[in-house]
Symmetry: C2
Subunit: 208 residues, 2 copies
């Protein structure tokens, strides 16, 4: 039905994307070879360079596939909360799309992106996150009018750090705590933690 793209549910291109995001998340971008990916995807090695031009473009395509829908849903949720959102609504708009969208296979990959400064800033933040940060900063400003803009920026960074850490290590928390990992429950705990952090009184500035 669709005219130009994605006709088959599991064509070569999609299989490569799925395999790559799984292996990149497990072992990192540099430790994962195109051979690993094409073996996992059960496609030919040359198919990667045919469908994507290079390994770097493949990485960009994976990031775009997952981050786009999440950020659109985040903005939608902020819009739905209206001009005077509560702190809880802002936190919910930040976290919930990660649970609702079909991004679960990409979850371990998020930490890889966030901890790679050059990749993150040049190919993720500027392209996919800058406008979202701006929108969330406005929303926090509406929910907490007394909070300075600079403080809002940093608290968003703190939120992003907790969030990416939980997602990055979600596969290994059972090894750390001995407890099974319930993503939705932990996200609920995180929401309470972040809402309280956002409401923290602004620390007194240091004297020289």
């Amino acid at each position: 039905m669709m005219s130009t793209e994605a006709k088959a549910p599991s064509d070569t291109k999609t299989r490569i994307l799925d395999a790559a995001e799984k292996l990149f998340g497990l072992n990192g971008f540099d430790a994962t070879s195109l051979r690993d990916i094409t073996t996992e995807a059960q496609v030919n090695l040359a198919a990667v360079n045919y469908h994507f031009q290079s390994k770097e473009s493949l990485i960009d395509a994976i990031i775009e596939r997952r981050l786009g829908p999440v950020n659109r849903l985040r903005i939608e949720m902020l819009d739905a909360a209206g001009p005077s959102p509560t702190v809880e609504q802002v936190v919910e708009a930040f976290l919930a799309p990660l649970l609702m969208m079909d991004v679960l296979p990409a979850v371990p990959l998020i930490g890889r992106v966030f901890s790679n400064p050059s990749l993150f800033v040049e190919r993720v933040y500027k392209k996919h996150l800058l406008h979202v940060v701006k929108r969330f900063s406005e929303a926090i400003g509406a929910a907490l009018p007394q909070l300075p803009a600079e403080e809002r920026f940093w608290r968003l960074q703190f939120m992003a750090g907790s969030m990416s850490h939980v997602l990055a290590l979600s596969g290994v928390f059972p090894l750390m705590s001995g407890q099974p990992f319930d993503r939705a429950a932990v996200m609920g705990r995180l929401a309470a933690f972040l809402a309280a952090g956002l409401r923290a009184p602004v620390a007194a500035l240091e004297e020289d």
Copy 2:
């Protein structure tokens, strides 16, 4: 004076450690070759395998060199705070050693470690962090007696996530915000955020 080790302030072994931690932080473990390291350190390629047995052992040595002193200081600060620490003292013991110790060159590396699940769990968490997490969990329990142990574990993870994210991206925040990055000031903002998060009311458990 010291009998067996570290006689010269800048011997081959130290030069390798310094160069490796710098390049690992900049580009990641897998993207940094031993050749990159020995070139940066201005030592011979074979020196790495002579002083360390392998690249993997070199990574372990770097982690141990920085994480050991930080964690010892953290425990000392918790001990100094006595059996009934405040939430602020716990947060301070968690963050301050990262600013006080000579770990600044290793700062960008921290994100690399935290976002690499297998490396983190097997070679960092179990060896260097498990007893620290236990000690901090006790301290949080003393500061906030009403907080369940499971919640303490997760809030420590949220704290670790924010902390590692700030350190990992500290070199690129100026590119993101247009503002210069003042590590101590941001750590102060983070301390206020985390203390409030620790004090958050426990979220009601979800019904089935």
